[in-house]
Amino acid sequence: MIHPNNPMTLIRTTLALLLAGSSLTHAGDFIRQTQLKNGLTWDFHPASNLGSTWSPIPVGTGGSVFSLYATGNKATPRIIKLDESTMGTAFPTVELTIRSQDPHVPARTRADQPFSVKIKRHGASQKLISLRHTLEKYNPATHSNNAQAAPKNVWLQLPIKTQQSGKFYPSIPSPVPTLAEGEETFTAYATGVKGKQLHPLKSASVQVWPVASVSITGIRANATVKSTAKLNKVTVSCRNLYPDSVTYVQIYRGNARLGTLGRILPQTVIRFDTKVPQNQKIPLGNWADTLPDGQYTLEVLHITPFNQRKPERLGYASFVIDRGMHASGLVMHQL
């Protein structure tokens, strides 16, 4: 581990700082350690993805840069840099973490949900830390990096404190803020021995996914239908269902009333545990055949890690079934 209070001894650094920081490491990844003073470079190719190990090469005066590289996929035949950190007696040691209501690792949130950024510094260094906040838009068709859009950077100069945290709402640029998607990265920088240039110390990222939406077609709002055959043709199409979500359709008597516990249509329950948002057409089947005449509301509900996992209503449709057949007596039907 790092011994920030003993600058006279060789400082050794656990390579797990980088390996553990990324859940994307797999066979073929490696860490390149480069000494800032003389350019000496060592490529460490770990045999396994787990655990930690000491770097046998001392950081030395001037500091060292540790860069984590990963193999790409078929679309990216070259290696890509996942993380980078600069360490040495001339640099403050920092921990940088991002937290969201979604406990997923790597961190992710939704366009309308805040996240917190916490920075903790160790050691006696009183150097100022500058924070670069990078906003990178994703391509909504692929939910991945958009080569056409250049990232936007904002710099924050932080006061010298041992620990501080800030609350942020996603700020990925988007004409419709609820549809914003991309990645926000915070990178801490400090100047080195000569004090002229900024070196990256640590970075942390959070993915931002759009808010889900629904389109209910085949029925006009508050329409009166005489045949349930028409209702059976209603379609429910969802977009951008959150990667960790349960979505379902329920129905109940009367006008729309948020918070009503209606009858869940069992065939409509869909659970996603994925890496990116999902589009899904929800099958309703012959859901309306057994409904007696009356007023009903069909609701599409969406449960995510946010809002204490309480359902959010994506959309609804109210309608009246009137087949034109009326009994002389009062008939009660339990929904």
Binding site: T41, D43, D112, S165, I264, Q267
Partner: protein, 190 residues
């Protein structure tokens, strides 16, 4: 009555069928036990009432405008307060070895012996797919060799013994300097 439990005798056909079923379950386990799926079994155990509607774009703009965000006491700017130390692009700061459709990367100054007939293995314009060094080395031991050096030798503070360097010419392979089995630079004499 036999007190010891014994497996029932299965015909070879039944054994084969059983083995096939076990294999099918093992191979499809990631799908069978996947977290995504359809049906009421995926509903949470506790049913909660819907508490809110999906926010509109306008509601979100108003919400964000009303929030106090960021770090207390931090100043914001569109520009870095100092110049940023240039980050070296790895392909531009590495030795690249190419063989067929694969290439690998080595630290600069890590090739300590290069026979003339193997210079063609070094390239500045890699093609094909990146292959990690351990895999590349194992696949091409016929023309690659590693030599373990000390930190002092890596830093250029101690030389590689002449008799050792002479041995490289007899090996007739590209020699890569390594430290604890991982490629390392051998800097020029300091």
């Amino acid at each position: 009555m036999n007190p010891h439990f014994t497996l029932p005798h299965l015909s070879p056909v039944k054994k084969t069928v059983l083995q096939a079923i076990i294999l099918a379950v093992v191979l499809t386990a990631p799908l069978l036990f996947a977290e995504s799926g359809v049906g009421p079994s995926f509903l949470p155990a506790e049913r909660k009432q819907a508490a809110s509607d999906r926010p509109t774009a306008q509601q979100l703009r108003q919400l964000i405008a009303a929030q106090n965000q960021g770090f207390t006491g931090a100043t914001q700017s569109a520009h870095a307060p100092e110049a940023i130390a240039p980050s070296k692009e790895i392909y531009a700061s590495s030795i690249i070895l190419q063989h067929g459709d694969n290439h690998t990367l080595l630290p600069p100054y890590s090739l300590i012996h290069i026979p003339a007939h193997l210079e063609k293995k070094i390239t500045r314009t890699p093609s094909g797919k990146y292959m990690p060094w351990p895999e590349f080395y194992n696949a091409h031991r016929s023309w690659l060799f590693t030599h373990h050096i000390t930190i002092q030798q890596a830093e250029g503070k101690a030389p590689i013994k002449p008799e050792v360097a002479h041995q490289f010419t007899r090996i007739n392979r590209l020699v890569v300097s390594v430290f604890q089995n991982h490629p390392i630079s051998t800097l020029p004499k300091q």
